[in-house]
């Protein structure tokens, strides 16, 4: 569903992402984690077609994003941490606009269903300025899901949500995955990633540190230290990389790094 090969993004001399390879299959939820400046958002933006990669390729549902951007973007939804909305369009107008852009015929029943699900039905005529932070996030989600994307990327999806919103968002992500959507989530909240992701990709300084299923990764790290949480895996993996021992092999071939654990 998502196929990334040798993805590299440079900003002048600065390497934001380097030679990144991974795949996400239908129904998989991949957590993209890493310290600040690791290249998570840059990777997601390259996947969403917002910024062009310097080198490498991205395929969405078999469509090369560089060669067939329209077909690829038609299958894609990208949710930023800060909801991106038009200040002067109402909730209803946002959906009408999105339907025309993505050519979603008979969108009204689906839009009504989404608004109902996201508890926005009573706010159809409100502009974003009249909505709370969480409601704006929900509106962005309704717009993104209107064209039934088969690939969804989330950048810090829980930012600004209340506990009920967090629970609903997690349920929604898992529901989409069960329906066969390929999902990538970038987050600093490791417990969220651990809870809902089937696969993990840890980045540091634009390079892949570990990639594999959650169980593969934790299993490797638990060989010496018993039950290992993703948080511990994260600190050990990124701490190891600091010493110059970056591992770019699949998790199944990876050996856990030795040495003291970093404090959380």
């Amino acid at each position: 569903m998502i196929q990334v090969k040798a993805l590299t993004k440079l900003y002048g001399e600065f390497v934001a992402v380097k030679e990144l390879d991974f795949e996400v299959q239908p129904g998989e939820v991949m957590g993209l984690v890493g310290p600040n400046g690791a290249g998570k958002t840059t990777t997601l933006r390259c996947l969403a077609g917002i910024i062009p990669p310097t080198r490498g390729s991205v395929h969405i549902c078999g469509h090369d994003l560089a060669q067939e951007p329209i077909a690829a973007k038609q299958q894609l939804a990208f949710f930023t941490d800060e909801p991106r909305l038009f200040d002067y369009l109402t909730v209803e107008q946002h959906l009408a606009f999105t339907a025309r852009i993505y050519q979603v015929r008979n969108y009204e029943p689906l839009a009504d269903q989404l608004l109902e699900e996201l508890e926005l039905a009573g706010k159809k005529n409100a502009v974003p300025g009249e909505l709370s932070r969480g409601m704006k996030q929900k509106l962005a989600i309704a717009c993104g899901l209107l064209h039934a994307p088969r690939v969804v990327c989330f950048d810090e999806p829980l930012t600004g949500l209340d506990p009920i919103g967090i629970r609903r968002m997690k349920d929604s992500i898992l529901k989409r995955a069960r329906e066969g959507t390929a999902i990538i989530i970038s987050s600093h909240l490791l417990h969220l990633v651990e809870e809902i992701c089937s696969h993990i990709l840890i980045l540091k300084e634009g390079r892949k540190i570990i990639h594999g299923t959650l169980s593969e990764i934790t299993q490797k790290f638990s060989a010496q230290a018993g039950d290992t949480s993703l948080e511990e895996v994260f600190f050990r993996a990124t701490g190891d990389a600091e010493k110059g021992n970056a591992v770019e092999t699949p998790a199944s071939e990876m050996k856990p790094a030795a040495g003291p654990r970093s404090p959380p």
């Binding site: 993004k9 900003y11 934001a16 840059t42 933006r45 969403a48 077609g49 917002i50 910024i51 062009p52 951007p69 329209i70 077909a71 690829a72 973007k73 038609q74 894609l76 939804a77 990208f78 930023t80 991106r84 038009f86 200040d87 002067y88 369009l89 109402t90 107008q93 009408a96 606009f97 339907a99 025309r100 852009i101 993505y102 050519q103 979603v104 015929r105 008979n106 969108y107 005529n125 409100a126 502009v127 300025g129």
Partner: protein, 581 residues
């Protein structure tokens, strides 16, 4: 006043100036500053130092009558400003402080009166700058520079104090349970009574209003002179005339004799303001938060958010889910432009313009009013081509902060580009069509020997056909500039202040004129060719539309190429690179 507040004000101004100078290290500011500096030198400073106008009497003051007229006009303008200050506001008085000032000054042991003094001191920076600017702008009118500057300062300071005082007074009325609408009704009732009294009294002294008497501008001026200098109006405007009088003084002696009453009024206003014991702190905190939000939005490039909070607006038409996606962007941007941009409103306006212009034509008879209005409409039409694309910004310039969202849409670059610029093109075209209707209506009864009615209709049709194509091209220029030089574009709009910002705007304007000339050349050549050929074979009124169609086709091809280029520029627009730079 508290010395700490003086320190704060002094260093704020000093540091801001130093920062402005330091940023000239960046080429975009340096080039802007050079161009802006040259512009200011050629238009203002050159004439300020060593020009023949220096020391000459104020050009507008040809006679004591004209002085009285100008005094009354100035007083009338002030009256309108002050009246609006008493009618429009609906909130409590709020002295605008920055969030930092609120955080530091409000909890500090500083009296309310000291805070007002601080606010007054700070407003003096803006008043002095405005005084300088107005003095430079009006320098070409002659007169004594320093006298005029002092006159401007007196007017601006009095108005500033009155606005502050009136906001305090309105707050006190609110505190006493008088709602904004009750107050507005009261003031309007007073205004109506006064106006009625003036009309009744004035009927004995003022000439009757007769449109057919206005054969030229002199007739209009004479009528205005009679109305404003005879009868009750001069008495009604007397206090405000005192404020304006020093500005219009023809020499130092006249200035000094006018200074006393004006300064006394200023002092009275000052006493009124500082003695007003109104709680402005709560409203000021809210105002400062809004100011901070606006500043944050401006700094992040989100100009839309920096404006007044938008409300839900009626869409201009129903957007169907299928069809060209570019129309969705047109629809969205028309909503952003406001409620007024619906087809029904434009048709109503067109009918009104036609009726009004024909009505004026009938009523004015052979007076000079009709051609004067026609010329003004024609000038506005020409200016709309240059100024319109700068003023109407419901396009990439508005959506650039959301460029990352636009890039996720499954659309080609050219589709996005076309959709983005369609809204300002549509609005500008409608305005120009309205002006064309007005021009045709006003010149409908002009001597047919010069240009027959069919030819005039042909010209109107041709211009109406060419206008949208031309707008499509002209709107591409600022959009292309925004995409190619986003940093320049944002500073050009948002910097908004200083010589460098003026210079940047001038560079853009010059580029626009240059492109306009280049794109017009092939269209004009084809127009001329087709026109002469068609005129040889057919009548002139047929030749003009035929030539216009040919020119419009050339412009359409140029516009299509431009849209492709704009789309290419958007495809290449690297959101992340712009953010990191």
């Amino acid at each position: 006043m508290n010395s700490a507040l003086l320190y704060l004000q002094y260093h704020s101004v000093k540091n801001r100036t130093v920062m402005r100078i330091k940023r000239l290290k960046q080429p975009k500011y340096l080039v802007g500053a050079i161009v802006g500096g040259l512009y200011f030198y050629w238009y203002f400073f050159r004439t300020l130092f060593g020009t023949p106008t220096r020391g000459q009497p104020f050009a507008l003051l040809a006679s004591p009558e004209s002085q009285a007229l100008l005094e009354s006009i100035g007083a009338l303008i002030l009256l309108i400003i002050l009246l609006l200050a008493w009618i429009i506001p609906h909130q409590r008085a709020a002295l605008t402080f920055t969030e930092a000032e609120v955080a530091f000054l409000f909890p500090a042991p500083i009296s309310r009166r000291t805070l007002i003094h601080f606010k007054l001191l700070r407003s003096q920076t803006a008043i002095l700058f405005t005084t300088l600017l107005l003095t430079l702008v009006t320098n070409r009118l002659g007169g004594h520079v320093w006298l005029r500057a002092a006159g401007f300062w007196l007017i601006l300071s009095t108005v500033n104090l009155h606005l502050l005082g009136s906001s305090f007074a309105l707050t006190m009325l609110l505190d006493r349970g008088i709602s904004p609408w009750q107050r507005r009704l009261g003031i309007l009732a007073l205004a109506v009574v006064l106006t009625g009294g003036v009309i009744v009294w004035g009927r004995q002294t003022m000439p009757a209003f007769d449109l057919s008497r206005f054969t030229d501008l002199q007739a209009v001026q004479d009528y205005a002179q009679q109305v404003l200098t005879a009868g009750p109006v001069p008495y009604l405007l007397y206090p405000l005339r005192l404020v304006v009088r020093p500005f219009l003084a023809s020499n130092a002696l006249a200035f000094l004799s006018a200074l006393g009453p004006a300064a006394a009024l200023l002092l009275l206003h000052y006493v009124w303001v500082v003695r007003s014991n109104v709680a402005f702190e709560e409203a000021s905190v809210q105002a400062s938060q809004k100011l901070a939000e606006k500043l944050a939005a401006v700094r992040s490039g989100n100009w839309q958010a920096a404006r007044k909070q938008p409300r839900s607006k009626r869409p201009p038409f129903r957007l169907r889910p299928s069809g060209p996606p570019a129309v969705a962007l047109l629809w969205k941007n028309l909503i952003g432009a406001g409620q007024a941009f619906t087809l029904r409103i434009w048709i109503s306006l067109a009918v009104f313009a036609l009726c009004a212009s024909l009505g004026v034509t009938q009523a004015s008879g052979g007076s000079g009013l009709r051609p004067a209005l026609g010329m003004i409409a024609a000038m506005l039409l020409a200016w709309s081509l240059l100024i319109g694309p700068q003023l109407l910004r419901q396009d990439f310039r508005q959506d650039l902060p959301l460029a990352d969202l636009l890039k996720t849409y499954p659309l080609r670059g050219w589709q996005l580009a076309l959709g983005e610029i369609l809204a300002p093109v549509a609005i500008l075209t409608c305005i120009q069509w309205l002006l064309l209707i007005v021009i045709l209506g006003l010149f409908w009864q002009t001597n047919p020997a010069a240009l027959g009615r069919p030819e005039r209709l042909g010209l109107g049709f041709g211009a109406a056909l060419i206008a949208p194509m031309l707008n499509l091209i002209l709107l591409q220029i600022p959009n292309a500039a925004a995409l190619a030089f986003p940093a320049w574009f944002q500073s050009a709009k948002g910097g908004g202040q200083g010589i460098e910002a003026t210079g940047q705007r001038l560079i853009f304007m010059l580029g626009q004129v240059l492109v306009l000339l280049v794109v017009l050349l092939p269209a004009a050549a084809l127009f001329a060719g087709v026109f002469f050929l068609a005129r040889w074979l057919l009548a002139t009124f047929v030749a003009i539309p035929l030539a216009s169609i040919a020119a419009a086709l050339v412009l359409a091809v140029e516009a299509a190429l431009g849209v492709m280029l704009l789309g290419w520029l958007f495809d290449r627009f690297d959101v992340a690179a712009e953010q990191t730079s």
